[in-house]
């Protein structure tokens, strides 16, 4: 069977017509129709489908870029808010600390003033007291002299010459 096939092929080749390596006008015709096919498919297939793919790519890319931008914006906003929040918190703490410090200072100041006043008053009182004591001593001394003079006069029975 295969034998006869080979024979057939050989026969055909020997005839100069047919056979496997029979190159004839089919070649240029095939080339031309292939080029026409390239042109036709370019118009019917590559251009429109390519355009569809590119358009979709562009759309997706722009959407993605937009989304990315929005995300970035949102993130920036979140960051800003966070920062603002932190700032505010810090400020609040500062205000509290300031107020505390001020209060403490005022308290200390007032305390010091009061203490000073008290000191001054105490000193004054002390001074008055000292003065009064001295006065009292003086008057007492005088009285002692007078009394002792009287006692002497009484004892002596005659007034002493002054």
């Amino acid at each position: 069977m295969i034998h006869s096939t080979i024979l057939l092929a050989a026969e055909a080749a020997a005839e100069g017509k047919g056979g496997l390596f029979d190159i004839d006008a089919t070649l240029p015709i095939m080339a031309i129709q292939f080029l026409v096919l390239v042109a036709v498919l370019n118009a019917l297939f590559y251009k429109p489908i390519g355009k569809a793919i590119d358009d979709r790519d562009a759309l997706i890319r722009s959407n993605q870029a937009e989304a990315k931008e929005r995300l970035a914006k949102a993130e920036a906003m979140a960051k800003q808010y966070e920062q603002e929040l932190a700032d505010t918190r810090r400020q609040a703490q500062k205000v509290i600390a300031d107020a505390q410090a001020e209060a403490q200072q005022t308290a200390a100041q007032q305390m010091a003033a009061v203490q000073q006043e008290a000191q001054v008053q105490r000193e004054q009182v002390q001074q008055q007291l000292d003065q009064q004591k001295q006065e009292a001593m003086q008057s007492l001394e005088q009285q002692v002299e007078t009394l002792s003079r009287q006692i002497l006069e009484k004892l002596l029975g005659a007034p002493l010459a002054g």
Binding site: M1, A9, A12, G18, I29, I49, A52
Partner: protein, 252 residues
């Protein structure tokens, strides 16, 4: 005698007949044309054109059906071309490379899948267009022309500089390459497809049932691979012709 009789009955079975090198001649003036090849090639062209029309009839943002399939095909072709020719220059070559791939692929698969044999023609038999040396030589020569065109368009006469790259003594080899490229392209495709068809035919002749199936499956695989190889090589030749060697050592 008994076996011989069996063989003849087998022979009478219409699917199990082997015809090699028989052509169905058409005459155009005094030119001869292989009619069976042109007929199947028209079928292939028709399939491609109809698929394209179906795919682009109503282009949607979200592809469906044929559009999806053809978009997949185009993406595949673009990828192939891009890897061989490079990001910058591949776009104008997509139609040529893509048509090479699609035409060869559909031809090969039509030869493997469609029982052409059932359609009787006066002489010879219908078969894959790529199983004919005329078709493959035509495609290979077009590829050669394409890469020459690409080279000359990109660099003008400086294209001849390619022949002495990287060393001048490569010149004869490069010239021989220009002849071996189309030769190997055409004969590889032709040989593979014809051999596949013959193997299947012979096996069908010997054991008409089931046994040829694995070989047929293998044939489908080979057919696809051959289409891919042809298109990839064509793209790589074109890319090679446009490659920069000179001053601005850019990325290749």
């Amino acid at each position: 005698m008994e076996t011989l009789n069996a063989l003849t009955t087998l022979n009478a079975f219409p699917l199990a007949e082997l015809e090699v090198g028989k052509q169905f001649y058409w005459h155009l003036g005094n030119l001869e044309i292989h009619g069976q090849i042109l007929l199947t090639s028209w079928f292939v062209i028709g399939v491609l054109v109809i698929a394209s029309i179906l795919a682009t009839r109503k282009i949607q943002m979200v592809p469906a059906g044929t559009q999806n399939l053809m978009e997949y095909a185009l993406e595949f072709i673009r990828d192939l071309t891009k890897t061989q020719i490079g990001e910058k220059e591949y776009r104008p070559w997509v139609p040529f490379i893509g048509t090479l791939f699609l035409f060869i692929f559909i031809s090969n698969w039509s030869g493997a899948l469609i029982p052409w044999k059932l359609i009787r023609i006066p002489e010879g038999e219908l078969a894959a267009p790529t199983g004919d040396i005329n078709t493959t030589i035509a495609l290979a020569l077009l590829t050669s022309l394409a890469y020459f065109y690409a080279g000359f368009k990109k660099k003008g006469l400086g294209y001849f500089g390619n022949y002495v790259q990287p060393v001048a003594f490569m010149l004869p080899f490069k010239i021989i390459e220009d002849f071996t490229k189309p030769l190997s392209l055409s004969f590889r495709l032709f040989g593979n497809i014809l051999a596949d068809e013959l193997v299947v035919a012979v096996l069908v002749l010997l054991v008409p049932l089931f046994i040829p199936l694995p070989v047929m499956a293998l044939g489908l695989f080979t057919s696809a691979i051959q289409a891919l190889i042809f298109a990839t090589l064509a793209a790589s030749y074109i890319g090679e012709a446009m490659e920069d060697h000179g001053e601005g050592h850019e990325e290749h």
